[in-house]
C-alpha cells in the first residue's frame, strides 16, 4: 500500500472529524470525545472497505 495514502488520509480524517464535531456541539470535552468516536468509526469503515476491495480484486 502506498504510504502517502496513510500519511495523507489519517490527518485529513482527523481534522475533518474534529472540525465537523466542533460544528455539532459546544462543550470541548463532548467535541473531542465525539470526534474520537467518529475518527474510529471512519477508520473502521475505511479498513472494511479496503479489505472488501482487496478480496474482490484478489
Amino acid at each position: 500500500m502506498d504510504l502517502s495514502l496513510i500519511t495523507q488520509a489519517l490527518p485529513l480524517t482527523a481534522i475533518v472529524c474534529l472540525v465537523y464535531c466542533a460544528t455539532r456541539f459546544e462543550l470541548p470535552e463532548k467535541i473531542v470525545r465525539s470526534a474520537l468516536v467518529m475518527f474510529g468509526k471512519t477508520l473502521l469503515f475505511l479498513c472494511i472497505a479496503w479489505l472488501l476491495l482487496l478480496w474482490v480484486s484478489g
Binding site: 490527518p11 481534522i15 475533518v16 474534529l18 472540525v19 460544528t23 459546544e26
Partner: protein, 292 residues
C-alpha cells in the same frame, strides 16, 4: 440549534468574520476553543493543499486554449471559464482571495507582452531551433540568460546572451537580439514563455532562435488563472498529488462553510451535555452562560 448558554453576539457579523478567516467569528463571540479548532484545522488543510499543489491548486479561472499559440502571448485577456472548485476554495476567505486579485490583474490588457521594460537575468529551459533547408532542427537546451532592452525605458527589441548546455553535455553561448516574444506578466505558471533570435558578433541575425521559458516572479503567478497546458504539466510532474492538493483545499472551504453556519446559528446538535443535564434535572436558567 440555539442554546441560551451560547452567546452568539451579532450572528451575521460573526458569520462574516468567520468567512473572512476561519475561526475569527468564533473568536469574536468568545468561543475560543472552537475558534482554535476551526482556524488551525481549516487553515492547515488549505495550506497543506497549497504546499502539495506547489501553490497552484487554487485558481479562479481556467484559460481556454482557442488557438495553437500560447495564451501567454495574448495582449488581450484570453478567453477563460470559471473554475468551479474555486467556489469551495473561496469559502476559506482571505487565504483564497489572492486568486480574485490575480484574476483582476489578469483581466487587464497586458502591455508587457513582447515588451521588455528592464534587464532580465534568469534560468532558461527550452530549445535552440536552427532553420535549415530541411526544416527546423530543434535541440533541447537549458541554461542561463541575460537580456536587456535596447532603450533604457524599455523596448520590444533586446540584446543579451544565453549560455546553454545540451542533453549530451555540450555547452555553448550565443548572443541574442532583435524583437522579443515575451509572455504575459501575470499568468498561472512559474515559467514565462520567451522567444528570441540569435545574432552574430556584428548584430546580424542568424538563422536560429530560442524558444522556451524563463522564471516568472511569485507575485505574478501565485493563484493566477492558468491554462490546460499548465494543468497538464502539473499533472505530469505531481501526478495524483495535484488532485489530492485540490481536494484538500475544497474540503477546507466546505468545512469553513459549516463553521460559518455554526457562528451564525450555534452548534447543530446542541450544547453537548443534554443527556447529563436531563439526568440531573437542571434547566437552562440554572446554567451559567459560556460567554457572558
Amino acid at each position: 440549534m440555539t442554546d441560551s448558554r451560547v452567546n452568539l453576539r451579532q450572528p451575521l457579523l460573526a458569520a462574516l468574520l468567520g468567512f473572512l478567516l476561519p475561526g475569527l467569528g468564533h473568536l469574536y463571540q468568545g468561543r475560543r476553543f472552537k475558534a482554535a479548532v476551526f482556524s488551525v484545522g481549516i487553515l492547515i488543510l488549505f495550506g497543506w493543499g497549497q504546499v502539495l499543489g506547489e501553490g497552484q491548486a487554487t485558481y479562479s479561472r481556467l484559460v481556454l486554449r482557442t488557438s495553437a499559440d500560447s495564451p501567454q502571448f495574448s495582449v488581450k485577456p484570453p478567453a477563460s471559464k470559471t473554475s468551479w472548485g474555486f467556489g469551495a476554495q473561496v469559502l476559506v476567505g482571505i487565504p483564497a482571495f489572492p486568486a480574485l486579485l490575480q484574476e483582476a490583474r489578469f483581466n487587464n490588457a497586458d502591455n508587457s507582452v513582447g515588451f521588455l521594460d528592464a534587464e532580465v537575468s534568469s534560468d532558461f529551459v527550452g530549445a535552440l531551433i536552427e532553420t535549415t533547408r530541411q526544416g527546423d532542427l530543434r535541440t533541447p537546451v537549458s541554461g542561463s540568460l541575460q537580456l536587456a532592452p535596447t532603450r533604457p525605458e524599455g523596448s520590444r527589441t533586446v540584446s543579451g546572451e544565453i549560455s546553454v548546455s545540451t542533453a549530451d553535455g555540450g555547452t555553448a553561448s550565443y548572443r541574442l537580439g532583435g524583437e522579443i516574444q515575451l509572455g504575459r506578466a501575470v499568468f498561472g505558471s512559474p515559467r514565462r514563455s520567451i522567444e528570441c533570435r540569435l545574432v552574430d558578433d556584428t548584430g546580424n541575425f542568424l538563422s536560429a532562435r530560442i524558444e522556451g521559458t524563463i522564471s516568472r516572479s511569485f507575485f505574478n503567478w501565485y493563484m493566477a488563472p492558468l491554462d490546460s497546458a499548465e494543468l497538464d504539466r502539473l499533472h505530469g510532474s505531481l501526478s495524483r498529488q495535484y488532485d489530492v492538493a485540490a481536494v484538500l483545499t475544497w474540503i477546507a472551504g466546505l468545512l469553513n462553510l459549516m463553521a460559518i453556519w455554526d457562528a451564525a446559528q450555534g452548534p447543530a446538535y446542541g450544547y453537548g451535555d443534554e443527556g447529563r443535564r436531563a439526568g440531573e434535572g437542571s434547566g437552562d436558567a440554572e446554567a451559567p452562560p459560556v460567554n457572558a
